[in-house]
């Protein structure tokens, strides 16, 4: 039953201050709460300061909001040096009056306390700094240091409370950093004062691979992703990977792209793969996965489409060299900037890092085709589950951008080829299996299509030939002993050729026969016709003669009657 009264949903959109940090604004649907204070906490070395600095720099350079950085730990010079490694040039911003840095030194050994005091001095400094640049953003990094410098905790707590209220009244978007305590989010319980937004940064090392993660613990009045999001701190800044913001709602097109192998296109309903789909090429070692992948990349480049090739097994140069041997000149594309081959050992990064750096590279290069060869090598740096998770994120990310993806997957020998891919076959739209056809003392390569969503495709196994002209697919033969390939196929082909020749001979003979017979009969017909014609002439002559005779007799009789004057 309907209640009659629809529940009205009034949206009170909280205003946000965009951080400009790649990925973060997506998770938080716009950034940090505008005009309020957010707490960024985490263990030592988790990137709190860099996060905060990025917030200020982006605010100043991209959003027209100057900022103040109040550091309680690092001097301005140290901050400038550290930020330079992130590609941030702080002195320029300071000169342009977009950034103001103040180092607040609190050293207990230098301070004697005698009687009542308050922190008005700090307020005045903040106020002065804010007014100097017209700041809309502020960072306090980390204000907890005050607790180690001043002994009167009750004054401190009261003053902190006053400070946060004061900042809110001034409508300054603020980040307060805190160091994570053993039991609490921050050593001194800053979360007690800052209740609008809490961001937790984490840095973990698992299996000697480090991963940084970020989590939005709390965001009052706003929706936010609740997962742990991996992030990177690199020379290109602080970058967060929004992983679950992707939904399965990408646009799906009908456009098809060639695999680069005409016979394979023919097997795929004559037109190749769908653009924006995921193609999986799996097979055991040496079945030609890289060759298929490179042909696909080559075809994309030939169409003038930018292609990114992640090689996890070989260096870029090696891929180029090996492909040259089968007549694929990839160098022409890399030279033109259409193709980018990124050779990386999977073990240099953790999975998340790989995923992120891949995404960022893709963002920068903007390819329409991406090849990862092979994805299975990533399992060296993560569990099967993690690899699968990471790949599905990558796939979502790419599909959302309508990028056609080709993954190759190494199947370990001796196991079921259709089970051992890193569990990503279910993600694949088209799945091709390369296999060794081993018979008659030789190995030959075979290719078949296990599935290809949304198109009719061949169910045949084709033999796959690597020639110096590229890849060629030829029909295989299925005999009582199974699929025939290689020399068995050649023998079978010879047989068939002999049969065919014999048949052709027979046909030629019959044809000849037909011609002869026809000539013979036609001769007879001609002869008969001429016989008939001469007979007809003779008879006609005789008839005429007889008629003449008859007329003569008739006339003579009449003449005789006249002469006798006989009455008739």
């Amino acid at each position: 039953m309907l209640s009659g009264k629809e529940r009205t949903y009034v949206e009170h959109r909280l205003e946000k201050a965009p951080t400009g940090i790649r990925g973060f604004d997506e998770i938080t649907q716009g950034g940090l709460p505008k005009g309020r204070t957010a707490l960024v906490t985490g263990g030592p070395g988790t990137g709190k300061t860099m996060f905060a600095m990025e917030f200020l720099v982006k605010g100043a350079t991209e959003f027209g909001e100057p900022g103040v950085f109040v550091s309680f730990e690092e001097t301005a010079d140290e901050l400038i040096a550290n930020s330079a490694s992130l590609g941030l040039s702080l002195p320029e911003l300071c000169d342009a009056n977009l950034l103001y840095m103040d180092y607040v030194r609190v050293e207990r050994s230098e301070i004697e306390e005698s009687g009542e005091y308050d922190l008005e001095g700090l307020f005045i400094r903040l106020s002065h700094a804010i007014n100097t640049v017209g700041a809309r953003r502020l960072v306090l990094d980390t204000i907890e240091t005050l607790f180690s410098g001043l002994s009167n905790v009750s004054i401190l707590r009261a003053e902190l409370r006053r400070l946060f209220r004061w900042l809110k009244d001034k409508n300054i978007s603020t980040i307060v950093t805190g160091e994570r305590g053993a039991e609490s989010l921050t050593r001194e319980g800053l979360e007690e004062y800052v209740s609008d937004c809490v961001i937790l940064l984490d840095h973990r090392v698992t299996d000697q691979v480090s991963t940084r993660r970020l989590r939005v613990l709390k965001y009052r009045g706003s929706e936010h992703g609740t997962n742990e999001y991996p992030f990177l701190i690199s020379d290109r800044g602080f970058m967060v990977l929004p992983i679950t913001s992707v939904k399965l709602d990408y646009a799906v097109g009908e456009e098809r792209v060639s695999s680069g192998i005409p016979r394979l296109d023919a097997m795929l309903g004559g037109k190749g793969f769908y653009r924006g789909s995921l193609i999986l090429v799996s097979g055991t070692a040496g079945t030609g996965k890289t060759t298929v992948a490179a042909s696909f990349a080559d075809a994309a480049c030939r169409r003038g489409e930018k292609t990114m090739y992640f090689a996890f097994e070989e260096s870029a140069q090696q891929v180029v060299r090996n492909m040259r041997s089968i007549g694929l000149d990839l160098e022409q594309w890399t030279g033109k900037g259409i193709l980018k081959i990124v050779g990386q050992r999977p073990t240099i990064h953790g999975l998340e890092h790989h995923l992120m750096s891949m995404q960022f590279m893709i963002d920068d290069f903007r390819p329409t085709t991406v090849v990862v060869d092979p994805v299975t090598n990533l399992s060296q740096v993560g569990s099967l589950r993690d690899v699968r998770l990471m790949l599905s994120r990558l796939v979502d990310y790419l599909k959302a951008r309508n990028i056609t993806i080709l993954f190759t997957s190494l199947t370990q020998g001796g196991t079921d080829a259709e089970l051992t891919d890193v569990g990503i076959s279910s993600l694949a739209d088209s799945w091709m299996k390369l296999q060794n056809l081993e018979a008659g003392g030789e190995r030959n390569r075979g290719i078949s299509i296990l599935k290809s969503r949304g198109m009719s495709h061949s169910n045949q196994v084709r033999e796959f030939l690597l020639t110096d002209q590229g890849i060629d697919l030829v029909d295989t033969y299925t005999g009582p002993e199974g699929v025939l390939a290689g020399s068995a196929r050649v023998a079978r082909e010879d047989d068939e050729r002999a049969q065919e020749a014999a048949l052709r001979l027979e046909i030629e003979r019959l044809e000849e026969d037909r011609k002869k017979r026809r000539a013979l009969l036609e001769d007879q017909i001609t002869r008969l016709r001429s016989e008939y014609e001469s007979a007809e002439k003779e008879l006609e002559g005789r008839i005429r003669l007889e008629k003449l005779k008859m007329e003569t007799i008739f006339r003579k009789r009449k003449e005789m009657g006249t002469s006798r004057k006989a009455e008739t």
Partner: protein, 97 residues
């Protein structure tokens, strides 16, 4: 009385933020202590941060009132209304005989 060079001048600076009861009291307490222990050898400069906010950064002022001993070196800081004379003397490093 205090020991040390007789020609030594104590240069003290008191940072306050407006005429608050605390700042008034701090100045009164300071004056009293100086008269008692440093008679004729001190100079007090009062800096109101409300008038000169930019000065807070130089001497790293955070709390008010803050008393800074500029001379003799090293630089010393005492925060509070200076109601605890004992702590002020320790902070200023004024030794009593």
């Amino acid at each position: 009385m205090k020991e040390g060079n007789d020609d030594e001048i104590w240069e003290l600076r008191l940072y306050v933020a407006g005429q608050t009861p605390k700042s008034v009291q701090a100045f009164a307490n300071l004056k009293k202590i100086c008269e008692e222990y440093l008679a004729g050898k001190y100079r007090i400069e009062v800096v109101d941060l409300l008038d000169n906010p930019q000065l807070a950064q130089g001497d790293q002022i955070l709390a008010v009132p803050t008393l800074v001993r500029k001379l003799p070196p090293p630089l010393k800081k005492i925060i509070g209304d200076l109601s605890n004379t004992e702590r002020v003397l320790v902070g200023l490093d004024v030794r009593r005989v």
